[in-house]
Amino acid sequence: MTGFVDLYSENDTFLHRLDPRVKILSVLLLSLLAFVLSTLYSLVVLLAFIFLLLFLSRASLSRTWFALRFVLRFMTLIVILWPIFDSAGTPVWATLGPIKITEPAVWRGFTSAARVGCLACVWYILMFTTSQRDLVRALVRMGLRFDYGLTIAISLRFFPSFMATIYSIIDAQRARGLEFNRGGLIKRSRKYVAVLVPAVVSALRTADSLSLALQSRAYGAKARRTYLRQLKMRRSDFAALAIVTALFVVPFVAKYVFFVHI
């Protein structure tokens, strides 16, 4: 159940050790790059580079597959549907009634799918090489207000236990003879009230005791916050940031300054 929300897997590779701020910036830059690039070839090269990173960070095959199989399905859908709705360009490959399948549209379908693949993989790398605590810490150091950071951290932390509560509630109601898979749509959705109400009540009770716990540790007291763990950029962090920046800037300049079709 935890694997569902927390993709992080502990390991010791250079990607795991990288400063989380560098990782967040790099992922943003690479995501932008995926939009700058507009040909299938360049996107495939980017995808290959990202796969190399995946390989270097020793992603387990089964977990990666588990996390990304939905993306693959989505990509397949794009490849199939794109040419059906986009009929611009020639040559026309086939005509089925009002639908015209053209060669450039088919390539555009593949290009968009590759872009989605790039985006999903980069963000996946970030999520599974960075613990949630580090992510939040980085966001706070990058200027996010501390309370918002804490809110995000708490939400992430309690999500798995909230899911466990939901499953337990479903079990509790089934044990009282409630059958979720019987009856029509309306009848069925009414049955979920029996899950929703206890779930909300439990969440509120948790929130209530949590706020007490926070207050009793002087959260919100007026003082300058200090941090136990400091983030410090090392040489390797700067190097990584430089490489990724170059990776972004070179194609960007090539495209918008020298009008290279890339």
Binding site: S168, I169, D171, A172, R176, G177, A194, V197, P198, V201
Partner: protein, 284 residues
Amino acid sequence: MIPKPSIDDERLAAFRDVDFTYEDGTEALRGITLDIWKGEHIALVGGNGSGKTTLAKHLNGLLTPTGGNVIVGEFDTCKEPVARLARTVGYVFQNPDHQLFCPTVTDEVQFGPRNFGLSDSEIAEKTDRALEIMTLDHLKAEPPMSLSLGDRRRVSIASVIATDPEMIVLDEPFTGLDAKEADELMRVVNGINREGKTIILITHDMRVVAEHSERVIVLAEGRLMLDCRTRKVFSESSLLRDSGLTPPPVSQLAHRLGEYGVSPETLTVDELAEEIARLMEGAK
């Protein structure tokens, strides 16, 4: 080691070589074989994570074995829907807040009988009885969510009693109750047991086990460590300790006094007092 039933006993549940592995690979039950007879008062004990809840959830089909068989009544739990098994086995969950959702206590208690499609008069009769047994009459019209934890737990138990099951599983029902509330709860549970209902009590409280249960099932790491009469269990203190359990003070004391002639099978304060009085009489 399994207690012998008398001739007219009826078997309610049978576990045969049951294994259960959760989806993430946790082996929660290994090779469990046991029988549960009508009218028994059983304590299911073991350390944290020993598999008590997992075993109990097999009784109403919320979980089905990944190896072996579980028979409840005449049904194989793999083949029957939970809603059918729930008529035989009522289950009181550890946290009452995971089930309460109705606007009033009465609605809450009626929820189960309604799901089982009983007639209105039957529903009314069973609900009234359940409310009476749990002494909830004065709270009938209250919203259950706003009651105290002790009362919320009583509502959750009433809502199970109202379905009139043959067997009632109580998963750690004393969490958050004070000693008086716990004793009161046990008094009600024993009353239900005397009516011929089977009780399965999951608890860490060995004093309650010693005083009320007649049979104890001890689990450790998903295995059945002990399954016998309560008197026997607490005299096997080394096995108990291996399972992460401590006998109640009375049996510990009885054990220590063994060399003076106190029976190591003494379970309650009353029994111990009697034993000691007997010995002192003899010494005079």
